[in-house]
Structures are given as structure tokens and as C-alpha cells.
């Protein structure tokens, strides 16, 4: 069943308001129940919010999925969880694949081989590994070429599908299976790469960072991306109970703490203009975010206070930079 709504509940122009969530809960979802994502995996929640937003705005999504947890858990033959057109090509080429799909759409529409009255939007979906690392080049290429698509990175800050290895999205000092917290090296030495600013540097029309705990903000951003002609990049916070050694039921709580501690600021960059969407009245200390997750456990050991201090510095530095970018 196609996911497109005959009567869009909400047509956007200029500023976007998301309809009340209870009006959206009966949305025809793009993904069926019975997929194999882990209990408490927030990627599933992100997908759900994406589809609710798409339905509200009256769009059908066509998705190219990079290799990773979401792809593996939703497409085990002979089953599929996808009620929308969906393609998986390889790990590093979701953006290139969607480039081809979008080009085909243009060509076939022009040749009268496809109906032109449909609101179809192309989405490339990847984890942080498929986005920040191996898929970085193809993503950059697709953004630069200006295809009409949305790239959504569900950022769970490590290669989860292959067993929690570090990626360039892993924060400083987090323990992963390839950079575990040992006696000599206490987790990942390098700070997290800041992907949204790199995406924005491509000069594309829309870049945003969102979190599923702040679903109104995320869905508003997704609708904005849907209505944007040309490429959009969305960086979405995605807790992983397995990889983060966190409680299954605390995904959204951790997401909220990430925002409240400024670990995961909510912002958007529209036509080069930066805007912070949420400024906590009183920023919570980073410990509140860290202590909910086993991947940071070693940082609370006596003598390791400096690890927390360094990560706090990373967070503060980024926030300062954001404030400056907003002034531009």
C-alpha cells in the first residue's frame, strides 16, 4: 500500500506547524510491525516520526537505505517491513543510489512514463558509519550536485550492526569494541566529528539537527526538508541500548538529557542562516547524560575525572561555536 495521503492533513507554506500528535497516530505507516530491530532501538521511533511527518505533509517517500542496523533488521527475505518503495544497494552509497533514483524519476516523468501529480520525495537513510565515514564521499557528491532529496542520518555514534565499533561520530572517551576503555587508553581519544557543519558547508538549502525526544521539532524539520527543493541533511540523535549499555526503556529520556546538557543541540541552517531551536534555561552538567550509559562508566572511576572534564569541554566548545554561527 502506498503511503501517500489523498488529503494532506497539513499543507506547508513558510513557517511549519506540526499537527497535534494524536491526529497523526493513525497515520498509515511506512514500516510494518514485526521488524527485527532490538527492543528499545530508537531508530524505529525515528522512522515512525518521519512517516508521520510525511503523511501530514502529503508525501510518499522513496527510500535508499545504507547497510546497517535498520537495513538488516527490516529486509530479511522473504519478508520486508517496508510499505514504501525501498532499495538497499551497499554500505557507502545510499546518497549515490538515491541520486540515480531521483534522476530516473525526472527522466521518466519527462518522458510521460510516470504520473506527474504525485508528491514523491526521495530519502537516503544511513547510520553514522554509512554517513560520517564510508558514505561520506558519495554523500558529499550528492549534496554538491543538488539532487532533490533528504539525507537522514540516524546517529547512534558507532557501527552497531557489526558490534559497536568506533566511528568518527563516537564521542571522546566513549568505550567501543575497537577502542575499549583500557588501563592505558580510556576509550576513543578523538572528539566527535561535527557532520552538520560539514553538510552545511556544501551550501545546501537545509541542514538540521534533531532528536526524537523533541518530536515536534524533528517532524517540523522533516516537513521543512520535504518542502525544500534540493538537498537537505538531517542529523538525528539515535540511542542504542545495546551499544550504549543503556536501559531499553530510557532511550527517549537519554535523548532528552542529550538536548538538556547541550550534548545534542537542536538547530537548523536554512539557506546558510544558523538558528538554535532550543536553548536550555539552565544547562545540565554532562554527567547527567553520561551516567545513564555503560559506555561512559569508566569515566566515573576515581582518577578519571579529567575524562568527564574533557568531554564537557568538547560540548561547551561546540555550543560556543553554535552561538557564534547564529550571530552570522
Amino acid at each position: 500500500m502506498a503511503q501517500v495521503s489523498d488529503k494532506p492533513k497539513f499543507v506547508t507554506k513558510g513557517e511549519i506547524k506540526v499537527p497535534p500528535i494524536r491526529d497523526l497516530t493513525d497515520s498509515r505507516e511506512g514500516i510494518a510491525p514485526g521488524h527485527r530491530l532490538c527492543t528499545g532501538c530508537v531508530a524505529g521511533i525515528i522512522l515512525r516520526q518521519m512517516f508521520m511527518a510525511a503523511e501530514a505533509a502529503g508525501y510518499t517517500l522513496v527510500i535508499a537505505n545504507a547497510t546497517g542496523c535498520v537495513e538488516v533488521c527490516t529486509s530479511i527475505y522473504p519478508h520486508t517491513s517496508w510499505k514504501v518503495p525501498w532499495i538497499h544497494n551497499a554500505f557507502e552509497n545510499a546518497a549515490a543510489t538515491i541520486s540515480g533514483v531521483e534522476a530516473a524519476y525526472k527522466a521518466l516523468k519527462r518522458k510521460g512514463m510516470l504520473p506527474s501529480d504525485k508528491k514523491v520525495k526521495f530519502v537516503a537513510l544511513g547510520g553514522d558509519g554509512g554517513t560520517y565515514d564510508i558514505g561520506f564521499q558519495s554523500l558529499s557528491g550528492a549534496l554538491e550536485r543538488g539532487h532533490d532529496f533528504i539525507y537522514v542520518c540516524y546517529d547512534n555514534e558507532a557501527y552497531m550492526n557489526t558490534g559497536i565499533q568506533r566511528s568518527s561520530a563516537t564521542p571522546r572517551h566513549a568505550a567501543t569494541t575497537t577502542q575499549p576503555a583500557g588501563k592505558v587508553i580510556p576509550g576513543k581519544p578523538q572528539p566527535k566529528k561535527w557532520m552538520p557543519e560539514i553538510a552545511a558547508a556544501h551550501g545546501i538549502p537545509y541542514v538540521a539537527q534533531a532528536a526524537p525526544s523533541h518530536f515536534n521539532d524533528f517532524m517540523r524539520k522533516f516537513i521543512k526538508a520535504l518542502n525544500t527543493k534540493g538537498p537537505s541533511y538531517l542529523n538525528v540523535f539515535c540511542t542504542c541500548p545495546r551499544g550504549w549499555r543503556a536501559k531499553e526503556e530510557e532511550g527517549i529520556l537519554i535523548s532528552r538529557l542529550a538536548v538538556e546538557t547541550n550534548y545534542w543541540p537542536l538547530f537548523e541552517v536554512e539557506d546558510g542562516k544558523w538558528k538554535i531551536n532550543y536553548k536550555p534555561k539552565e544547562r545540565k552538567p554532562i554527567e547527567e547524560f553520561l551516567k545513564k550509559q555503560g559506555r561512559f562508566k569508566h569515566m566515573f572511576k576515581p582518577g578519571n575525572e579529567y575524562l568527564i572534564k574533557e568531554l564537557q569541554e568538547d560540548v561547551d566548545k561546540r555550543w560556543e561555536r553554535l552561538l557564534k554561527l547564529e550571530q552570522l
Binding site: 500500500m1 502506498a2 503511503q3 501517500v4 510518499t60 522513496v62 535508499a64 537495513e71 538488516v72 529486509s75 530479511i76 527475505y77 522473504p78 520486508t80 517496508w82 510499505k83 514504501v84 518503495p85 525501498w86 532499495i87 538497499h88 544497494n89 551497499a90 557507502e92 552509497n93 546518497a95 549515490a96 543510489t97 538515491i98 541520486s99 540515480g100 533514483v101 534522476a103 530516473a104 524519476y105 525526472k106 527522466a107 521518466l108 519527462r110 518522458k111 512514463m113 510516470l114 504525485k118 514523491v120 564521499q137 558519495s138 558529499s140 557528491g141 550528492a142 554538491e144 550536485r145
Partner: protein, 401 residues
């Protein structure tokens, strides 16, 4: 009727790259993705000109790498579009992972391949090591002897790939520089003829049928993966028939039939060379010259490398008077007995319970010259082999010592 059409045909002085670009213009694919690499680069220059001047209505994606070129072609073909790309040597190597994706998804894509050596050392000239590296990725592989054949093969490739019984991608190779950059007389078909021949693309469960959503590129566990692969083998076997059918149909346009192999003066031949690509042209010339001297020589040119024409090849050899055979390989298989084509020839004969002395000859790596003298040398080795003399597994032709 076919005769009158052939008489009207325009013969133009074209390089292989120009001829290939012209084929692409006439096919007018929905999507073409391009990334520059010598010696393919200028093919896409010509095609970009066609795009810029509105001579095709193709969506032209100028990607940031060959990996993305083939990735975009996979997306476009799955979407239901007729999609093509072109590349050479290291570009094909960078596509390698996606070659298997395209054939595994049973997508009818086409690569215009300009054969080039692989690094290291870096070398931009023509040999077949790129194509041989891609050998087992489930693509149909056609090899061209000259510019006109590249043009003809590309047009046929579209039809072969899209045939319901096949649905496999096709790469069409031509030797870098030797064909891609040499000007020859190329007889062009008319635009309408090509359009009518390739017809309209029939889509099978295209991704862009949003009313009937489909999942492409799913994950298959060990309970089903083998069944997918077996079906790919079946499609390849079908391709063996379909390539022949398409070749016959093309003959009505061209006045020349394309078959899996071309046996040249082999009926009474005692010494036969098996060869692929541009060297086949030189070899035919050498055969003519040697026959003037009364020598019973012939060659067999391989046009279809995948699916490999075992039966046609064995038939042709058995029907000849061969005392010995030489297999000319423009690629190495390090640690193997001889080159990759050599192995195929042995298989073709062994499975027919036939034994012939076979000499392995490696030539032309990295564009090393292969002229008439080298082909005559090759025949000398075959004669030695026939006489029972000791011949090493591999003789390098035109090797400097």
C-alpha cells in the same frame, strides 16, 4: 530490403570512443552516470556535448567517483530507467563491489568499457586485466574487435540486458587506445533503426511504482541465498540463447551476423590461435598472409566472454584439422598455469573429451604492441607444440629482455 538499407549507410571516420558515444546518443538512455578516466574520458565528452545540445533527453549525472557512477546506475535501473555508464581499468575496479549488486538485483544496466591495465605500476593503456577482474560478478561480457563492433555491441547489449529471460547487466569492452583512440571507418545505423531495434524499456516491478511499493536489495540468509545465485546462473544460460537471437536480428540491419565466436579460416586449419579484442583484426591479416604462403592457419575470435561459448568453441575446433592450439591472453593470472582465456579453452575441450596440445601466450599487457610479427611468432610456438617440442606454460610475446 536489408540490402538497400545497408547501401544507404553512412560510413564515418570515428574513433572507438566516438562510435560508442554515438551509440549512446542513438539509444538515448534515461540516465547516464559518468566519471572521467583515461582512455574512456572522451567518450563522455562527446556524450556530454549531446546532453548540452539537447540531442538526447538523458539525465546525465556527473558523479564524484566510479563507485557512485555504478551506484547511481543501480538506483536508476531499479527505478525503472534505462541506465548506462562508461569506465576503464581502475574505474571498473572501483565499481567491483557494485557489479555484483547490479547483477544480483537482476538489473539491465550497460557499461561501455574501455579496457585498461590495472596498477601498479600505473598504466593507462589497454589490456584485459580489468575485465578479467570483473569476470565472476555475474555480468554478461561482450568484447569488440574494432570501433564498429563496439558500436554494434552496445546497441545489442541494451536489448540483451533487458530481455525478460535475461535481466542481467552487460559490459562491452574495447581495447584502450588501440580501439578507443584510433580512427577507423565506422558504418552508422540510422537513428530510427537503432531506436526501433532497442525498443522501449519494459520495467519489471520498478521502484518508482509508488502505488505498488517494492523492496529491492533485501538481505537473504543461507536458507535462500543459493537459490538466488542459481537463478542468476539460469539467466546466464538464457543469455547464451538470447545473445544469439539478438545477433541474428541485428544482422537484418547490419548485413553481418554477430555470433559468440568468429571462426576465421579454421575449417582446414592445422594451427589455430584463439584471441579476443583488437588483436583479432591483426591476427586475421596474418592468417591471410600466411595462407598465401600455403600455411594452414586460422583464428577463433571470442566475442562473448560471459557467458563463455564452450560449445561453439569446441565445435569449431573439433570441425577443424587442428594439430595444436595457441591461446592469446591479454591478461595475467598470477600463479595460474597460463592466462584466463587459456583456462576457458581447456575447459571447453576437456568437457568434450578432446585433447589438443595448447600453448599459452601472453601478450599486449599495458598496451604493449602486438603486431603481425608477434602473431607469426605465436603461430611458431603453436607449431612447436604440435611437433611435440617442449614449450613453457606461458610464452610472453614481444617481451624485452
Amino acid at each position: 530490403m536489408a540490402v538497400t538499407m545497408i547501401e544507404e549507410r553512412k560510413v564515418v571516420p570515428y574513433s572507438g570512443n566516438m562510435a560508442a558515444a554515438e551509440a549512446l546518443r542513438q539509444i538515448n538512455p534515461d540516465v547516464v552516470a559518468a566519471y572521467p578516466i583515461t582512455p574512456q574520458t572522451e567518450m563522455m565528452h562527446f556524450f556530454a556535448d549531446f546532453v548540452a545540445n539537447g540531442l538526447v533527453d538523458t539525465e546525465f549525472i556527473t558523479v564524484e567517483s566510479e563507485h557512485s557512477a555504478l551506484s547511481a546506475v543501480v538506483g536508476a535501473a531499479a527505478a525503472g530507467a534505462r541506465a548506462m555508464t562508461a569506465t576503464a581499468g581502475p574505474g571498473l575496479a572501483l565499481m567491483w563491489e557494485i557489479l555484483g549488486v547490479a547483477s544480483g538485483m537482476r538489473l539491465p544496466a550497460v557499461i561501455a568499457l574501455v579496457n585498461r591495465a590495472l596498477s601498479s605500476p600505473i598504466n593507462i593503456h589497454g589490456d584485459h586485466s580489468d575485465m578479467m577482474g570483473a569476470r565472476d560478478q555475474g555480468w554478461i561480457i561482450l568484447v569488440s574487435e574494432n570501433a564498429e563492433e563496439e558500436y554494434d555491441n552496445l546497441i545489442q547489449a541494451v536489448k540483451i540486458a533487458e530481455d525478460e529471460r535475461v535481466r542481467l547487466p552487460v559490459m562491452v569492452g574495447m581495447d584502450g587506445f588501440i580501439i578507443s583512440h584510433s580512427i577507423e571507418g565506422v558504418s552508422l545505423l540510422k537513428d530510427e533503426e537503432v531506436r526501433e531495434f532497442v525498443g522501449k524499456q519494459r520495467m519489471f516491478h520498478p521502484l518508482l511504482d509508488v502505488e505498488h511499493p517494492t523492496t529491492h536489495g533485501a538481505i537473504a540468509m543461507s536458507d535462500s541465498y543459493m537459490e538466488f545465485k542459481r537463478q542468476q546462473r539460469e539467466a546466464m544460460m538464457n543469455a547464451y540463447k538470447v545473445i544469439r537471437e539478438v545477433g541474428e536480428e541485428f544482422a537484418a540491419l547490419r548485413g553481418k551476423k554477430y555470433e559468440h565466436i568468429e571462426a576465421y579460416k579454421t575449417e582446414d586449419a592445422e594451427y589455430i590461435l584463439i584471441v579476443m579484442g583488437s588483436a583479432a583484426g591483426t591476427a586475421k591479416y596474418v592468417v591471410d598472409r600466411m595462407r598465401e604462403r600455403g600455411e594452414k592457419v586460422g583464428i577463433i575470435k571470442i566475442r562473448t566472454f560471459r557467458p563463455f561459448p564452450y560449445y561453439d568453441l569446441a565445435d569449431a575446433i573439433v570441425a577443424s584439422n587442428a594439430k595444436a592450439i595457441g591461446v592469446m591472453d591479454r591478461a595475467e593470472t598470477f600463479g595460474g598455469y597460463s592466462g584466463p582465456l587459456f583456462e576457458e579453452v581447456c575447459t571447453a575441450l576437456y568437457t568434450r573429451n578432446k585433447f589438443y596440445p595448447i600453448a599459452g601466450l601472453i601478450y599486449g599487457l599495458g598496451g604493449r604492441d602486438c603486431n603481425i610479427n608477434h602473431i607469426e611468432e605465436a603461430f611458431d610456438v603453436v607449431k612447436k607444440k604440435a611437433a611435440g617440442e617442449e614449450v613453457p606454460p606461458v610464452t610472453y610475446l614481444n617481451l624485452q629482455v
